[in-house]
């Protein structure tokens, strides 16, 4: 029997999924026989650097484009998992901007945050959409131009609520976090939500099935604590495991093993 093939493209948020799949292959009986899963890390050569500026327009580099096309042609996937970028909302929101800003949302239209410059909501949306168009959608369009197999795009992990965790594992943010401070968790969650709403809308418009992280990795709109990695933005192997479980179910109707259903 032919195993269903899943080709996974992505950036750093793909790593925890990759590790989770390796763990499944080693630890779960029958998993290796159930699926053929291949990972293509776009932060590595020949994909990296991904983009080039052509007359003011951002395009994939020829190397990246060719490598994506080759990966699809060689592997002949039945479905594609896309975990592109996703850091745009973190760049926008993880630390307090030197000129603090906030915004009103349609969900709570009467609440105007204090002590910050208010950026109109339509502008926040337009900015995040602009960032998505300049990264995620370029990849999606490329894939859809090559193959008709279903593309499942997973939204980036939600923010980590704990400021303490971010300050304990700030990585390169250490200096700036000290100077500007981690932005309030509800603000980061709000930005993530807007980002995901745009991703769902635009992803669908560009032919991808956009999946949100499952409830099992969420806690009140934040990343569940047992999914935190020792850095301020990524999910761990448990997070990756939940994502691949969801994607396999959605793509092929099962995840290979019953006990993790």
């Amino acid at each position: 029997m032919t195993k269903p093939k899943l080709l996974c493209f992505g950036h750093s948020h793909l790593v925890c999924i990759d590790v989770a799949v390796k763990w499944r292959e080693q630890s779960l009986e029958g998993f290796r026989d159930a699926f053929d899963i291949r990972f293509e890390q776009l932060r590595r050569e020949p994909y990296h650097p991904n983009f080039v500026d052509v007359g003011g327009k951002r395009e994939l580099t020829t190397e990246c484009e060719n490598a994506m096309a080759s990966a699809i042609a060689d592997f002949k996937p039945d479905a594609i998992l896309a975990v592109f970028s996703g850091q745009e909302y973190q760049i926008f929101s993880i630390l307090n901007h030197p000129i603090k800003f906030d915004f009103v949302t349609p969900n709570n239209p009467a609440y105007v945050p204090k002590n910050s410059e208010i950026i109109p909501f339509v502008l926040v949306k337009a900015q995040l959409k602009y960032l998505i168009e300049r990264s995620v959608l370029i990849f999606i369009d490329k894939i859809k131009g090559i193959t008709n197999v279903p593309v499942f795009m997973v939204a980036p992990p939600p923010p980590i609520e704990s400021e303490e965790h971010i300050l304990t594992y700030p990585g390169p943010f250490a200096e700036d976090a000290k100077e500007f401070g981690v932005s309030p968790a509800p603000f980061r969650r709000k930005v993530w939500k807007v980002y995901c709403d745009i991703l769902k809308e635009e992803g669908a418009r560009h032919g991808a099935n956009v999946l949100m992280p499952p409830k099992t990795v969420m806690d009140n709109g934040y990343m569940a604590q047992d999914c935190w990695r020792k850095d301020p933005v990524h999910g761990n192997v448990k997070y990756g495991n939940a994502i691949i479980h969801m994607v396999l179910n959605r793509a092929f109707g099962h995840a290979g093993v019953n006990k993790h259903d």
């Binding site: 750093s12 890390q41 932060r43 926008f92 901007h97 109109p120 990585g171 390169p172």
Partner: protein, 304 residues
């Protein structure tokens, strides 16, 4: 800026917003995000509103896209999500208007129209007829007005007196828009006749204002563009829009005669020369990049 002068923008988008997006939402187009100010009354009311001296009763228009500001209905495509958001943005806008008035070295105003629509309740003037870009026209609440020379002079005088109070050293430069009316609201009057009236009123008013105020000057861009000598060549095919070469010629004359700068032959307007983005966002992106690289390096380990 090419000539050593700055176009003073007191209200720009937050640095977190890209220039491309900011421009679409009319940041940087105007010195503050007030949209087109067609009449002297509109200008005077804007100043009064910015300083809390006038609060029109007509406050916000609900539109299918969101809430609109009746006094700048086209300023933000998509509108505001609520009256509360509109008010918050308006307060920021008013702060920018105050900064603009108090800190500018030269205040330039182009008199555009004499025709306007206003509230019967409190005289608030709208840049567009209610019911066009937003709101609903109600003959019980709204009326057409065609300002006279005396009214234009009185409005701009009130504004100038106020401006000189908050910014005593400012110089004021007045011009009249050469763009003819597209339509008139005057019953039984041709748009050609209405244009002639409107331009005549505005031109007389600027002459009177220049004579009245030592710090106010009239620059004849209207004559440069519309005069017979130009043979209409500064207008586009639609006979309304001014061609870039006309704008460049006006600016060259202005720089030569008012600033003592020879800028040579007319040339296209410069592109925005401030390409610096949000340094903070760039740093955040760099940091994220480092974390993402580390994530890859750690892949051989547990990733947990």
């Amino acid at each position: 800026m090419m000539s050593g002068y700055n176009y003073f923008v007191a209200e720009d988008a937050h640095l977190a917003i890209s220039k491309e997006i900011a421009k679409k939402y009319n940041y940087g187009t105007f010195s503050a995000r007030f949209g087109n100010l067609y009449t002297a009354r509109q200008l005077w009311q804007l100043a009064q509103r910015a300083y809390g001296r006038f609060t029109p009763q007509e406050d916000a228009w609900e539109h299918e896209d969101g809430w609109l500001d009746p006094y700048r209905p086209n300023i933000q495509p998509g509108g505001f999500v609520s009256p509360e958001e509109l008010h918050a943005d308006r307060e920021q806008h008013f702060a920018a208007v105050r900064t603009m008035l108090e800190e500018c070295d030269v205040f330039v105003f182009t008199f555009g129209l004499t025709e306007a629509w206003r509230s019967k309740v409190d005289g608030a003037v709208f840049p567009l007829c209610p019911g066009t870009a937003g709101g609903t026209f109600d003959p019980e609440r709204h009326e057409f007005v065609n300002f006279t020379v005396d009214e234009v002079v009185a409005d701009f005088s009130a504004f100038t007196d106020f401006l000189l109070e908050v910014n005593p050293d400012v110089k004021i430069l007045m011009t009249v828009s050469p763009v003819p009316l597209m339509a008139t609201a005057r019953a039984d009057t041709s748009v050609i006749v209405s244009t002639a009236y409107s331009k005549a009123v505005l031109r007389v008013a600027t002459e009177m204002l220049a004579a009245k105020y030592g710090q106010a000057f009239y620059f004849p861009s209207y004559e440069v563009i519309t005069g017979n000598h130009a043979r209409g060549r500064y207008f586009e095919e639609d006979l309304r829009e001014v061609r870039p070469m006309g704008v460049a010629h006006v600016m060259r004359l202005f720089m030569k005669h008012y600033c003592g700068i020879e800028t040579g032959a007319p040339r296209p307007l410069p592109a925005r020369d401030d390409d610096s983005g949000d340094a903070f966002a760039e740093k955040m992106a760099e940091n994220i990049g480092v974390i993402c690289d580390e994530e890859l390096l750690d892949q051989g380990e547990s990733a947990g």
